[in-house]
């Protein structure tokens, strides 16, 4: 999930579920970093190419 949209929202409008989503995404990135992906925690907005790769990977059951 691209959490940039949540970061760009007024935090007073974020729900507890939104905050949990941010935390979960951060945890996933830490998991991937621990697996050796040194860019896993990058919080820069994803490029179109990265988004496409993510879509493809969903069907392959692997983490990018």
């Amino acid at each position: 999930m691209d959490i940039q949209e949540l970061f760009s929202r007024d935090p007073l409008n974020l729900t507890k579920t939104d905050i949990s989503t941010i935390i979960e995404e951060m945890r996933k990135s830490r998991h991937n970093f621990n697996l050796g992906n040194m860019k896993a925690g990058s919080t820069k907005p994803k490029t179109e190419k990265q988004k496409q790769l993510e879509e493809v990977s969903k069907g392959l059951d692997i983490d990018l």
């Binding site: 970061f7 007073l12 830490r30 896993a40």
Partner: protein
């Protein structure tokens, strides 16, 4: 706001006596007095500060404050996961720059996220760093010290009388037990790889000595030193290392004696209005922020200060 970096008007009576000399000292001002009296004068007495608040101070302040709050919530019995949600919610709000109405109330739907001018110390990386830290130290062997009145020893701002009318001030993040010994815990962030040499840099170090000294005096506990949890903030990750810096009683006696000597020197300089430069400090730690000012002729320095700094706030 990190109380170790209190902003006050220059010559605020809470920090300066009637002669204009500083009597309330925290580690930041002690370090400045140790480093260079010319810099001490510019920064503390005259109140010159960078145009924009230092991103490192903002990021570090939010980070330490979030972890303090987390430990406070958990020590008070809040569920761990709930505490994480609580601190992240607060951080998201604190790092949003709202507009305020005439009554100083937040205008809903206003404002924008805090925009950092640093490539790694950003809002998103701040949230990442807090989540990663709390997960990495999920089974942390350190435990918050519970004081005799039942309160957890976290978020403790102190004013500690010393000799000669001097008061030491500061803020302790947390007092913890680790392998049966008591330590102050402090959080640091850095952009560099954390090596053993990084931790060696904290001995000697005034901040860590003051924390140990204050921890012993305030809590009346045999504090052994400071546990430093350092976070390396990179573009793609945050990596943590834990280090220790110990202080024996005779080391603390020496630190106290030397610190009062440095303070005495700064107070005499204030009374004499004479602040010699310590030129060997100019290039330390990547270079003094006032280096390009001091390299100019004294007659034109004020003009250059006005261009790059604002006057009126003192970092104490």
């Amino acid at each position: 706001m990190d109380p170790n970096n209190i902003i006050a008007s220059p010559r605020d009576p809470k920090f300066f006596d009637v002669t204009g000399a500083q009597f309330s000292w925290n580690s930041t001002s002690i370090k400045l007095a140790e480093e260079c009296l010319y810099k001490y004068n510019l920064k503390v007495l005259q109140g010159w500060a960078p145009n924009n608040k230092n991103v490192h101070l903002k990021f570090g302040g939010w980070y330490a404050s979030a972890l303090e709050s987390f430990h406070h919530y958990v020590a008070k019995g809040m569920d761990r996961e709930e505490a994480i949600i609580e601190v992240i919610t607060t951080l998201m709000e604190e790092t949003w720059e709202y507009e305020y109405d005439d009554n100083d109330q937040v205008i809903p739907e206003s404002g924008t996220p805090w925009q950092s001018d640093h490539n790694t110390k950003t809002r998103e990386n701040l949230i990442r760093t807090v989540v990663w830290y709390l997960d990495q130290f999920k089974d942390d062997p350190t435990a918050t010290v519970i004081l005799s009145d039942g309160s957890p020893a976290v978020e403790h701002t102190f004013l500690l009388p010393a000799d000669d009318g001097i008061v030491f001030s500061g803020h302790l993040d947390r007092l913890v037990t680790y392998t049966g010994k008591i330590f102050v815990q402090d959080q640091k962030t850095t952009g560099s790889t954390i090596t053993p040499r990084y931790f060696e840099g904290f001995s000697p170090d005034t901040q860590m000595s003051l924390y140990t000294f204050a921890g012993k005096a305030i809590f009346n506990e045999p504090v052994k030193g400071v546990i430093i949890d350092a976070a390396q903030i990179a573009v793609g990750f945050t990596r943590f290392e834990r280090g220790f810096t110990f202080r024996s009683d005779d080391q603390l006696d020496e630190w106290y004696d030397h610190t009062l000597a440095h303070i005495g020197r700064a107070r005499r300089a204030t009374l004499d209005n004479h602040f010699p430069m310590t030129r060997t400090s100019c290039s330390n730690y990547g270079g003094c922020e006032f280096h390009h000012i001091c390299s100019r002729a004294p007659s034109v320095r004020e003009q250059f200060l006005k261009a790059d700094f604002v006057k009126g706030k003192a970092w104490l």
